[in-house]
Subunit: 194 residues, 2 copies
């Protein structure tokens, strides 16, 4: 029904995060209804992104320039915020609350998944610190067991540099209802009360 090209296209869409066969069909039908304004621009944008977007060799961000626009910005503060992935970097940039640099770790340490320090961008981070000029490292890692283990490991490795090491505060999220919070968050929020 619809030919091999259509079925292939629907199959590819249905494997994207958050999509399934039903939403993929809906998207493909809409794209085909608007070939000139929907389908072709998306195909072109995918190709443009594929050829232009690369991983920043300094911080690991995705950008059409290398070093990325953030690393190339001269007025960024002399701090490095260590995040797990690009999505976390983007979330912090969207919040407009941080004006320093970043470092993407590419994951967290995980005994379960067999991810050790050599699988993360730890060496490039140490290299950036050896080059000097950095005053603070903010560990913005997920508030999970693995995130905490990774932060602990990095703190040990960074100890030899004269750099301030901090972590994000933990507690009740803004707008978060107390009743739906897990015990861990509540305990942390209570302990850290101000």
């Amino acid at each position: 029904m619809g030919g091999a090209e259509l079925e292939n296209l629907i199959g590819l869409f249905s494997r994207l995060p958050g999509l399934g066969p039903r939403s993929a069909r809906r998207i493909v039908l809409k794209l085909l209804r608007e070939k000139e304004h929907g389908l072709m621009p998306l195909a072109d944008a995918l190709r443009a992104a594929a050829s232009s977007v690369r991983t920043c060799t300094v911080c690991g961000n995705l950008d059409s320039s290398d070093p990325c626009a953030i690393c190339a910005e001269p007025l960024r503060e002399l701090r490095i915020c260590v995040v797990e992935n690009v999505a976390d970097l983007w979330a912090l940039e969207r919040a407009h609350v941080y004006r320093g640099k970043y470092h993407i770790l590419g994951g967290t340490l995980s005994a379960l998944s067999g991810r050790g320090p050599q699988d993360l961008a730890v060496a490039p981070l140490l290299k950036r610190l050896e080059e000097g000029g950095i005053e603070e490292i903010i560990l913005a890692l997920p508030a999970t067991v693995e995130g905490a283990a990774t932060a602990h490991y990095l703190t040990e490795r960074l100890r030899r540099f004269s750099v301030l090491i901090s972590r994000l505060a933990q507690g009740v999220p803004i707008g978060g209802a107390i009743e739906i919070l897990d015990e861990g968050t509540l305990a942390t929020a209570l302990r850290g009360r101000t």
Copy 2:
């Protein structure tokens, strides 16, 4: 953040049905992580679909051949199931319960949206009937006021052909809980009890 190409790509994805900025970012990051197995095949599939998929000049279905595979199938029964759009045709084909032909109307009559008979594929449907050989027309239009008005209009226009005209049965959907059904469905199901 990420350059113009990335922002453009995220913008295009976020305008697709069912997606927003957050899901679009998640999809684009996943595609970029797997350029060779994610991004490029999708760009290629979009181009392939754009160049190969066309609207069947007989029934209005989307397919890489014209007439579409369904219209070209010699063993289809001499019935035409009239549906609003391609998604409805696909849903009926997936159900494997109908072995006839189709006709896509391209919408329903709507005084509110100013959609008259000339905006729908009514004339091509009449032409197919004039060519003869069709024994039944099944009006599989949405169970809405506009769907009913369209079915009523088509019934009038098809009266001059010696063809059986039927509609889909209405009632409680399989697996549907009685308590969540609207009054209209309940009334229809009660009236049509068997």
